[in-house]
């Protein structure tokens, strides 16, 4: 992707999210969960594709998050479902200094 449409949103400061947890924010009208995982920073759509569970409240490990409602697990990098069900959209994150920037992926993306 290399279009001008790929705007990076200044989402939060590094301090805003405790290590190993996630927090949600609205960017461009879209609810996004940002994670500060052991393996780096990641962002996914905030709602679990199963029944809308708040992924930002999930348990985070190096590369995955577990939805707090019914334990579906998602890859933090790609958003793909590691258990059953659909994937969730994943967004690019970049940390510049003390700020965290998120570039939203195209609006729709689900599993086949």
């Amino acid at each position: 992707m290399s279009t001008a449409a790929a705007l990076a949103h200044d989402a939060c400061s590094v301090e805003d999210i405790p290590l190993g947890e996630g927090r949600a924010v609205t960017l461009d009208g879209r609810r996004i969960a940002i994670f500060r995982a052991g393996g780096g920073w990641y962002a996914l759509d905030a709602a679990c594709p199963h029944r809308g569970g708040p992924l930002a409240d999930g348990i985070v490990c190096d590369r995955a998050v577990i939805c707090p409602l019914h334990d579906r697990r998602f890859d933090l990098q790609s958003g793909s479902a590691l258990t059953t069900g659909n994937a969730v959209a994943a967004h690019a994150v970049e940390v510049r200094g003390a700020r965290v920037f998120v570039t939203l992926a195209a609006a729709e993306r689900g599993a086949a």
């Binding site: 989402a11 949600a24 609205t26 985070v60 659909n86």
Partner: protein, 808 residues
């Protein structure tokens, strides 16, 4: 290869279509496969619709395989497309969107359609078949909408499961059946006559010899009219009288069909290169309406396809299946297989308890069994039916079966009927596949992932194969195969103080994260609460000290020792409910008050205004101690139950436990506080207190074991406290006391906790751990992080350009 099309197209993505693809891939990695699914979802487990009708779970969870499976196995999946024509000469078929597909060979797996009788009113709104997720949703929604009564036409297996689903929504339901007994295809009169009363106990009425002539309208269904002129009011009508094999496509290309598509023993139809499998197929005159035969058929069909491709003749044969069925209705245990009668029959029956066990024999061989109310030994008996085992004394065989467990079965005995998994497959998953727990075995073999009724048998077999009863919770971290005991030892030996210390030392908890809460408990327990707390290892409930609910809001249950409150507390609770516009205030089953639907960011304010300590209703911790009024007011009271209950709750408050611990204290054996079904329960008796543990009245009901009867209230508290610490130190994470005590053995538990020295050491360790607890709701003024209770939203998100160097 150019110029040569080897593609196999499977028409129909039901259990049969999926099974054919899997059986083919097991035999040939390269042959191109396309699976065309007429429904708008990838293949799913139809059998579990009955379960979902009861639970309301999302039908997405029924998928047989995740999306990646098709990509990983190179199976082209076309979802939501019907095959509308086939040109056998040109080897081309057409889809409804006018796309065309070329194929070399074809497998027809088009299943069946529910049979709908051509009676007036059958098309009215409110009349449904029970076949797919949409039916399931429609039936469930109607049953839960407050209508007076529903009717199910048809008293077969499926009709009864539909009725159970409707009754579970709180809706009155009547099953109307044409004949004078239920499930006449599987059951004899004796078993049938016990089934109707068992259903009545689940609020399902049955009316026999009812021939429906018309469904009464006019706009939507309001009732049934029978041929004898009588009527039954019903605003929801579910029709479940049978299936009609879907053979239209096959007929249209000239394949010989009868009721279904006629196939030979190699699953071939009358047209070369075209096979049929599943409910659309008719083999030796039989159309099977069950899953188990489908797996056998799919294996044979795949073998035929592979052999033909290699230029050989068909070398696998399908010789038919012995039908067997289990009724998936909670509260009724029913298993049947084969024929319902023979030339010699052994029957054991007890009408009072609703038990009926029968074995039918013909020419000295087992040909059928019916087990109702007591299904012990069903695996062995069904296996005997399948293999036509010779038997001399059928009554003795019935008795022997009830003593034998699944672990005694031969390797060829089928354990999971939904997925066609035999005992030998399970044992191989342990011995050759390196699986160690039932869960791993189930993931690999897919046993137990259908209707679930074989899960207890799977667990038993895996336990026997792995050589220990200590099965499911054996690994705290299944990714790294680390046990609780092993990790505890390492924590002690290396002085590890936190979950991240443990992760650094032995890499647990990093890969999948699922074991982090278990590790967090273990670290805190081994370190007697002097550990370094890391909240990211805790489930959300233990980060914000409230219970997460379906919409992401939380519930707040303040501590009410022994269920006793005061006017002042009630006033504060009422004021808080008003101030924060709490959507519901509810009296809980644990004798406390629950504020439900609270926003996360309101939690600290609510706790401050309440001024009451946390009830830990969200945590694996010491929960409520239910009490009855006892000697304070009750004319029967023998002991001060309120006093002891409050004392227990205060002595243990704030302690985390492997799973929740709920207690109760009753002032006399009338047991108004239900103490005999609690994790820890005390009952005042003449001359003292009975101290119990290991009770349950949740998903299971188990009477608590008596640890001992002691003379004084002080001794009762002491013994209960000793048990609590023993449980804290020795139970696996998420192991309730009702599983813990049977695993360890009551005698072993007693031996330790009644021993003066070891008991004293346990109490001392509890005292140290307790001293380090504090009310988590005080974090309202001292959060562990500025955003403990907040998302990022108050930040005004500012739009800027791409970050430096950022051509992302």
């Amino acid at each position: 290869m150019v110029g040569m099309n080897r593609r196999i197209v499977v028409v129909g993505g039901g259990i049969a279509g999926q099974a054919v693809c899997e059986a083919l891939r097991e035999r040939d990695r390269d042959i191109p496969i396309t699976l065309v699914c007429g429904e708008h979802s990838a293949p799913y487990d139809r059998v579990r619709l009955s379960e979902i009708l009861v639970s309301g779970e999302d039908s997405q969870t029924l998928r047989l395989r995740p999306a990646e499976w098709y990509a990983d196995n190179d199976v082209e999946l076309l979802v939501g497309h019907t095959v509308t024509w086939v040109d056998v000469e040109r080897r081309v078929l057409g889809l409804d969107d006018s796309d065309e597909l070329r194929f070399e060979r074809l497998v027809i797996a088009t299943g069946s359609q529910p049979l709908m009788p051509p009676i007036p009113g059958i098309d009215l709104a409110g009349v449904h078949p029970f076949r797919d997720p949409a039916d399931c949703e429609a039936i469930r929604a109607a049953a839960a909408s407050g209508i007076e009564r529903a009717a199910v036409i048809g008293g077969g297996l499926l009709g009864l499961e539909a009725a159970r689903g409707i009754a579970a929504q709180g809706c009155a339901v009547t099953v109307v059946h044409l004949l004078d007994r239920l499930m006449e295809r599987q059951l004899d009169a004796g078993a049938s006559s016990l089934l109707a009363p068992a259903l009545a106990g689940l609020d399902i009425d049955v009316e026999f010899e009812r021939n429906t002539q018309q469904i009464i309208g006019p706009q939507r269904a309001h009732g049934l009219r029978f041929t004898d002129g009588s009527e039954l009011p019903a605003d929801l009508v579910v029709v479940s009288i049978g299936i009609r094999p879907e053979a239209e496509l096959a007929r249209s290309i000239g394949i010989v069909c009868d009721r279904g598509i006629i196939v030979d023993d190699a699953m071939r139809t009358s047209l070369p290169g075209v096979l049929a499998v599943g409910e659309c197929a008719q083999h030796r005159g039989i159309v099977y309406g069950l899953v188990a035969p489908i797996y056998d058929q799919a294996r044979v069909a795949a073998q035929t396809l592979v052999s033909e491709a290699a230029g050989a003749g068909a070398d696998a044969l399908y010789l038919g299946s012995v039908p067997s069925a289990k009724l998936k209705v909670a509260g009724i245990d029913l298993v049947c297989a084969g024929e319902s009668g023979g030339d010699l029959e052994a029957v054991v029956t007890d009408a009072a308890t609703g038990i009926y066990r029968k074995l039918s024999v013909r020419d000295g061989r087992v040909i059928g069994t019916v087990l109702l109310g007591d299904t012990r030994g069903s695996e062995a008996l069904v296996a005997a039916v399948r293999s036509g085992e010779p038997v001399e004394d059928p009554l003795q065989a019935l008795a022997d079966a009830s003593l034998s467990g699944p672990a005694d079965l031969p390797d060829t005995a089928q354990i999971c009927d939904c997925n066609g998994v035999c005992k030998g497959d399970l044992v191989a998953a342990v011995s050759d596949g390196g699986c160690a727990t039932p869960r791993e075995v189930m993931a690999v073999t897919r046993a137990g992932t259908g209707c679930g009724s074989c899960r207890p048998a799977v667990k038993e077999i895996v336990a026997a194969a792995t050589g220990g009863l200590n099965d499911e919770p054996a690994y705290l971290c299944p990714c790294r195969k680390q046990t609780r005991e092993g990790l505890a030892e390492q924590i002690r030996a290396d002085g590890l103080q936190s979950v991240s210390d443990v992760a650094a030392a032995c890499a647990t908890g990093r890969e999948c994260g699922a074991c982090k809460p278990a590790l967090a408990y273990l670290v805190s327990e081994v370190c007697a609460n002097q550990h370094r707390e890391e909240r990211d290892a805790r489930f959300i409930n233990d980060r914000v000290h409230a219970n997460i609910q379906h919409d992401g809001t939380f519930s707040v249950v303040p501590r009410m020792y022994g269920g006793v409150t005061t006017p002042d507390e009630l006033r504060r609770i009422a004021d808080v409910a008003d101030k924060y516009e709490v959507p519901m205030v509810k009296v809980t089953g644990g004798q406390r008050l629950d504020l439900l639907g609270v926003k996360k960011q309101d939690l600290p304010g609510i706790w401050r205004d309440l001024g009451m300590p946390s009830g830990h209703a969200y945590a694996k911790a010491v929960r409520t101690v239910k009490t009855c009024v006892g000697t304070d007011f009750c004319r029967f009271g023998l002991g001060d139950s309120v006093g002891l209950g409050i004392e227990m709750e205060k002595a243990w408050e704030g302690l985390h436990t492997p799973h929740k611990v709920k207690s109760g204290v009753s002032g006399c054996p009338r047991n108004c506080a239900e103490a005999t079904v609690k994790d820890i329960g005390c009952v005042a008796v003449e001359g003292g207190w009975q101290v119990r543990a290991g009770g349950a009245a949740g998903g299971n009901v188990r009477e608590a074991d008596i640890l001992a009867t002691v003379e004084t209230r002080g001794e009762a508290l002491r013994l209960a406290t000793t048990f609590l610490q023993f449980y804290r130190e020795n139970a696996d994470y998420k192991e309730r006391t009702y599983d813990f005590i049977p695993r360890i053995g009551l005698e072993q538990v007693r031996e330790v906790i009644l021993d003066e020295e070891r008991g004293g050491a346990l109490r001392e360790r509890l005292r140290i751990a307790k001293a380090a607890t504090q009310d988590p709701w005080l974090e309202r003024d001292d959060p562990y992080h500025a955003r403990q209770f907040h998302d990022l939203d108050e930040l005004e998100p500012a739009l800027v350009g791409p970050p430096a160097g950022g051509e992302l």
